[in-house]
């Protein structure tokens, strides 16, 4: 079967033994000004870990996730994903944006949106096949969305939209999932579902980094906490969490 990937590099094998994510001395500009949004950030996340990315608003959580997803240019420093530079292998990284970045009035169904998670595997000209259908159906079942599959995406509630985006990330079958505040404005059911899904992902050896404001279940749902503080100057607290080392006890 032919395959014309969207970017020239594709399906590069990961470097054996490399961390899932390694960020070294990373600096990134703000998109709309000439100041630095991140300055000299370094961190490591190992395969199979769930890492929480916490910090006040404007600390650069979204910027960090976007830089890892290859959406922002790097000023200095280095990002390695499974030992390879950003963009070396697009199918390996899934990014779940904040809901506002999508035009929800667009005339497509929930199922179709989830299917766009498969596009990275299809590339130019190829249409989704049976394997893709199956991956999408699986993701819909996991997120409890099967009954809503034919809904237009604008007719979904906030929680359902969030689940749809998560289903797309699952359908993509990525190894590193970057979730940008998926807990914002969602219902309790979706929250519980997310925790289950993240646990399943860990058991499959997938790596999850989630920006969040919810500090109540850190030690429960995550193996590692990364703290971004104060926009530019960045201090990162890293480490396996226990209630004693929880950097922000409630």
């Amino acid at each position: 079967m032919f395959h014309f990937p969207y970017s020239r590099r594709h399906y590069t094998a990961p470097v054996a033994g490399a961390p899932a994510l390694e960020v070294r001395q990373l600096s990134v500009m703000h998109a709309d000004s000439d100041s630095l949004a991140l300055k000299d950030v370094s961190l490591v996340v190992h395969p199979g870990e769930r890492a929480a990315l916490i910090g006040p608003n404007g600390a650069g959580k979204t910027t960090l996730l976007k830089a890892i997803a290859g959406l922002l240019p790097i000023v200095s420093g280095e990002i390695l994903i499974y030992g390879l530079p950003v963009g070396a292998c697009h199918h390996r990284v899934a990014y779940l944006p904040q809901r506002g970045e999508i035009d929800w009035r667009f005339p497509i169904t929930l199922r179709h949106l989830v299917m766009t998670g498969r596009y990275v595997h299809l590339g130019w000209l190829r249409r989704p096949g049976r394997e893709d259908d199956m991956a999408v159906d699986r993701a819909l079942t996991i997120m409890g969305l099967s009954d809503l599959a034919q809904r237009q995406i604008g007719q979904l509630s906030g929680g359902q939209q969030q689940r749809t985006l998560l289903a797309r990330a699952l359908a993509q079958d990525a190894d590193l999932l970057l979730l940008d505040e998926p807990l914002n404005a969602i219902d309790k059911d979706t929250r519980a579902m997310l925790a289950t899904v993240m646990n399943d992902l860990r058991q499959q050896g997938k790596t999850v980094i989630m920006a969040t404001h919810d500090l109540s279940r850190l030690e429960h749902d995550f193996e590692r906490v990364l703290t971004l503080v104060d926009g530019r100057e960045t201090i990162l607290l890293e480490g396996v969490i226990t209630p004693e080392t929880n950097p922000m006890p409630l």
Partner: protein, 281 residues
Amino acid sequence: MNILNDLLDPFIRFEFMRNSLAAVILVGLVCAPIGVYVVLRRMAFIGDALAHTILPGIVFASIRGLNLFVGAVLAAVATALGIGWLSRRESVREDTAIGIVFTGMFALGILLMSTTRTFRDFTHILFGNILGTTRDDLILTAIIAVIVIGSLVLFHKEFELTSFDPTHAEVIGLKADRQRYWLLILLALTVVTAIQAVGVVLTSAMLVTPAAAASLVTNRLPRMMMVATVIAIGSGVVGLYFSYRFSVASGASIVLTCTAAFGAAWLIRISVRWINRRRAA
């Protein structure tokens, strides 16, 4: 049978009517599907601008005795790329960039026109003259139709994804900007075909009105494109017939039929909502 004969009579009798009929069908086929993107991506202003910026291209070609069509295509593509380039990284906001390029090019067209001392030659450019469609025009329109529709079909999933979620597109390595430039070029080609039907001033109607009407009656993209195409072709044929029967301007007649179709779609939407609300109550 008599009514049918009556309806078909002008097309059987006159070659120019057959040419015009082929032209409106082609124009509808090209304009409607890409018009859906114009409406969904809120590019209506760009469509309008492209139509106006074509003027200097056409006038220049006409003065030099070159092919008008080619002049129009070159001017439109240059505009599309110019607007994209000016507004990259938001150094100038897109609507501002459009405003500058659009008025500047249109003024240039008028200026060139005034050097020829005869505005009358160009009225069909401004207001359209489908009845003057030649065989060569038809062939060029057909080629453009194949390019535009072919691109939209082959790269449907990429145009669709970059329209509603450019972020995801970028994450998987699909450049949303490149896709946008491409759409602008296709739009430029489309506008050139629409101009011969309805003229510079009314071209955005062919792009926007059928698509907007379709968006009122369905919320599935492929179906929206289908409905828009039916409305565009239907309006083209009906409008053409009216213009012949009552000897009125063809472009205006076609556009007003589109407008009426939009009105009908609006009524359908309102009635469906009303019925649904009744049922729910």
